[in-house]
C-alpha cells in the first residue's frame, strides 16, 4: 500500500503570476528529408514572434533562460542537441537545460520554464521542444522506443513498446470495457474523431476522413488495438514564451491577443507497470470515496488501484493542478482540452484519471458527445471538446514537442485565433497540403480556460498544463 504524507500532497504554488505570451510550431510530418532540426526550431520560434507582431530578434532580446525538450538522443543520433539548437537560435550565452521525460517531455519542458519564471530566476524564458524520429525506419524506431522500458526486464521482450503498454489496455478493455463490441466501437470513434479534426489542421500529419469500420478493419498491432488506434511517429518542433506579468505586458503591446495565465504540474509512477503497488484512489475535488466503494461489484476484477487500468501519475498532476488553480470539476470549469491520446484506450483512461468521468465510466465522455466540438447527438457545442488539433493520433507525436503543441492548440482557442491560424490559405500552401473543401472552423466559442495532459510511456511522467484568460481565473490568489 502506498501512502502519501500531507507535505507530499500539498497544492503547489508559484511565487508570482506566470503568463504564456505566445507560441509557435513547425509543420509536423513522418519525415522531413529537406530540413535539419534547427530549421524546424527556427520555424517554431519565428512563428511565435509573428503572432505577437515582434521580430524574432526583438523577442529574443527578452529571453533570459531556455528550456529544451528533446527526448530521444538516440533517435536523432545527437547528444547535446540542446546546445546545438541553442546556438543556432542565436541564444548563447544564456543558460539552458535539456529536459527528457519520454512522451511527457514537452509538458515537462513547460513545467521547468514556468517554474523558472515563477521563482523569479527569469522574467522571460523560451520553452522549445522537438523530436527527430525519421533517422531510422519504423522497426528500428520501435527498437529505440522500447529502450524507454526497463532494459533488463522489459525491452528484450520483443523490443516493442506497444506490447508493454497494451497489457494495460487489455486489462482496461476486459474489466471496464467488459470486452464489449460497443466499447470497441467507442474506441474506434475516438480515432475517427481525431483523424477527422486533423483534416482541419494544416500542421497535422495524418488527416483522414475515415469511419469506425475503417478503424476496426485496420491491421491488428496488439489486440484489441489496431493500427488506427495508435499515435504517430513524427518530426517537428513547438515552442512557447513564458513570462512574468510585467514582461508579458511589454511583449504584448502590439499583440492581437492577451497573455494567458499558465500553471504546470507534474506527477509520476513506476517505469515498469510490474512494480505498481495497490493503494486507495486519491480523490479529486469532484469525487467522493463513496462512489468507488462498490467498484469490484460493478466491474468484476477492478480489485487494484491503479492496477493496470489507471495512471497514478496523471491523477497526481491533476490533483496538484486543480489544487493550484481552484478547478473543482474539469467538465464545468474548463472549455477545451488536449489529452495525450497515445492510443484510443489511453485517451479513455485519461478521462478518468483527470476527473472528467469517474473511474470505469470514461467511455461515456465519448458516447455522450461531450468530447466533440459539436455534439453529433444534439448538434449543439460539445460540453468539453478534446483534441481538436487531432491529438497524437491525427496531428503528431514529435515527442519533445507534443506537450507544447497541445498548449499552443489550447491557447489558440483562448485567444480566439483558432480559425485565423488553422484556416490560413498561405499556411496550407506553405506546408504543401490541400485545405479540404469542407474545412470547418473548430474555434470553441468563448473559451476562457483549458488544459493539456502530457504523458510518458506507461505513465512514468505526466504533466498538466492549465491555461486561463487572466480575467477568468478561478482562484484569485493562484
Amino acid at each position: 500500500m502506498i501512502k502519501f504524507s500531507k507535505e507530499q500532497l500539498k497544492a503547489p504554488r508559484f511565487l508570482r503570476p506566470v503568463y504564456l505570451v505566445t507560441a509557435g510550431q513547425s509543420k509536423f510530418d513522418r519525415a522531413m528529408p529537406d530540413k535539419r532540426t534547427e530549421e524546424i526550431c527556427v520555424d517554431a520560434l519565428t512563428m511565435a514572434a509573428e503572432l505577437i507582431n515582434v521580430s524574432p530578434a526583438e523577442l529574443k532580446s527578452y529571453i533570459h533562460s531556455c528550456y529544451y525538450g528533446h527526448f530521444a538522443d538516440h533517435f536523432g543520433d545527437q547528444l547535446l542537441g540542446e546546445a546545438l539548437i541553442h546556438d543556432r537560435l542565436g541564444l548563447d550565452p544564456l543558460g539552458n537545460v535539456g529536459v527528457k521525460t519520454g512522451g511527457a517531455t514537452g509538458g515537462s519542458t513547460l513545467w521547468e520554464a514556468a517554474k523558472a519564471v515563477a521563482s523569479g530566476y527569469s522574467d522571460c524564458v523560451l520553452a522549445m521542444g522537438w523530436e527527430r524520429m525519421d533517422e531510422v525506419p519504423t522497426d528500428e524506431g520501435n527498437f529505440l522506443i522500447s529502450c524507454a522500458a526497463d532494459k533488463d526486464w522489459e525491452s528484450p521482450l520483443g523490443h516493442i513498446y506497444t506490447g508493454y503498454y497494451a497489457v494495460m489496455a487489455q486489462r482496461y478493455w476486459q474489466i471496464f470495457g467488459k470486452a464489449e463490441d460497443s466499447f470497441r466501437r467507442t474506441l474506434a470513434e475516438i480515432s475517427v474523431k481525431h483523424h477527422g479534426y486533423a483534416r482541419m489542421n494544416p500542421w497535422a500529419q495524418a488527416p483522414m476522413k475515415i469511419t469506425v469500420d475503417d478503424v476496426l478493419n485496420s491491421p491488428v498491432v496488439a489486440y484489441p488495438l489496431r493500427a488506427l488506434d495508435c499515435c504517430l511517429m513524427s518530426v517537428g518542433a513547438a515552442c512557447a514564451i513564458i513570462c512574468d506579468e510585467e514582461t508579458a505586458m511589454k511583449l504584448s503591446k502590439n499583440s492581437p491577443h492577451k497573455p494567458l495565465r499558465i500553471w504546470v504540474t507534474a506527477g509520476s509512477h513506476s517505469l515498469r507497470p510490474a512494480d505498481r503497488l495497490n493503494m486507495e484512489i486519491p480523490l479529486l475535488p469532484n469525487e467522493t470515496a463513496e462512489q468507488y466503494k462498490d467498484m469490484e461489484k460493478r466491474f468484476p476484477g477492478a480489485d487494484r488501484y491503479p492496477g493496470f487500468t489507471g495512471f497514478l501519475g496523471a491523477r497526481m498532476c491533476a490533483h496538484y493542478a486543480y489544487g493550484m488553480t481552484g478547478i473543482k470539476d474539469p467538465t464545468e470549469d474548463l472549455d477545451v482540452i488536449e489529452l495525450h491520446d497515445a492510443f484510443t484506450i489511453s485517451d479513455v483512461q485519461s478521462y478518468e484519471d483527470i476527473g472528467i468521468r469517474p473511474y470505469g465510466q470514461g467511455r461515456t465522455y465519448v458516447e455522450s458527445g461531450d468530447c466533440y466540438h459539436t455534439n453529433p447527438k444534439t448538434g449543439k457545442p460539445g460540453k468539453l471538446p478534446s483534441n481538436l488539433s487531432g491529438g497524437l493520433i491525427g496531428c503528431m507525436h514529435a515527442v519533445g514537442a507534443t506537450g507544447i503543441m497541445q498548449a499552443f492548440e489550447v491557447a489558440s482557442h483562448l485567444w480566439n485565433r483558432w480559425a485565423e491560424f488553422h484556416g490560413d490559405e498561405k499556411r496550407w500552401k506553405k506546408f504543401d497540403r490541400q485545405k479540404p473543401a469542407d474545412w470547418t472552423d473548430l474555434q470553441v466559442k468563448g473559451a476562457k480556460r483549458g488544459l493539456a495532459i502530457s504523458h510518458a510511456g506507461v505513465g512514468s511522467h505526466v504533466t498538466c498544463t492549465v491555461l486561463m484568460d487572466p480575467d477568468h481565473v478561478i482562484k484569485k490568489d493562484a
Binding site: 501512502k3 528529408p33 529537406d34 543520433d77 522497426d139 528500428e140 524506431g141 520501435n142 527498437f143 529505440l144 522506443i145 522500447s146 526497463d150 532494459k151 533488463d152 526486464w153 522489459e154 528484450p156 521482450l157 520483443g158 523490443h159 516493442i160 513498446y161 506497444t162 506490447g163 508493454y164 497494451a166 497489457v167 494495460m168 489496455a169 487489455q170 486489462r171 476486459q174 491491421p219 491488428v220 498491432v221 496488439a222 489486440y223 515498469r272 507497470p273 510490474a274 512494480d275 505498481r276 503497488l277 495497490n278 476484477g301 493496470f308
Partner: protein
Amino acid sequence: MSRFADVYVKNNKYRINGDFHHMTPNLPIRDADNGMKLLGVTNPREMTYIHSYGGEAVFFESLSQGKLMATRCDSKNCDSKGVIYQPFRIHCPDCLGKNTIFDMTDIAKKTSKIYTFMVCERSGAFNILEKPIKFINIEFEGVPTILMSYMSLGEPKFGLKVVPIFKKQDPSYTIVDLSWVPAGTDKKDLPNGFSF
C-alpha cells in the same frame, strides 16, 4: 578478420577482447525529385555495449539454473517489512535498505496466474521472440507486484494458471530465458532448450 566482442572482469575491471564495432561505409542520400542532389548520408553503426547487471546478476544467472529469485525487505523498522518484490529489487523502495534475496521458484510453480496479457503481432528490430508475442503479466500469491514475461505455449487469458519454464540449455542470460506455459503442460511439449 573480425571476432565477436567478449568481456570478463578481473579485479573489478573490465577485460575486453575482440571487436566492439564494425565499420560499414556511409552512403549518400539523394533527392530523386530534384536532379539527384545530395540531401544527406546514411550512418551505419554496429557496436557492442558492455552492461552490468550489478546486484541483479544473481537473478539472471539463476534463470539458467531453473530458479526464480526474488527479494524481500527484512528491515526491522520499515513499513514495507515482509514485502516481496518480483521483479527483483535490490533495495527496498521504502527504507532503501538492502533486500534479502530468496528463491521463489516453488511459489511461482504453485500460485502463478495471468493478471493481464497481450498478443502482439509486431516487434521491434533485434527481437528474438517468435511472433505473435504473447505478453503476460503474472501475479503470485503473497506478492504485491506483477511480473511481466511471455508465454511460449497455449493461449493467455485472465486467471489462467501458468508455470515458469527456464532456458537452461544455451541460455542467453537475459529475461527471455524465463517463459511460461499453462499449468499441466507436458515437458515433451516445451520449446527447444527450455525445461521446468
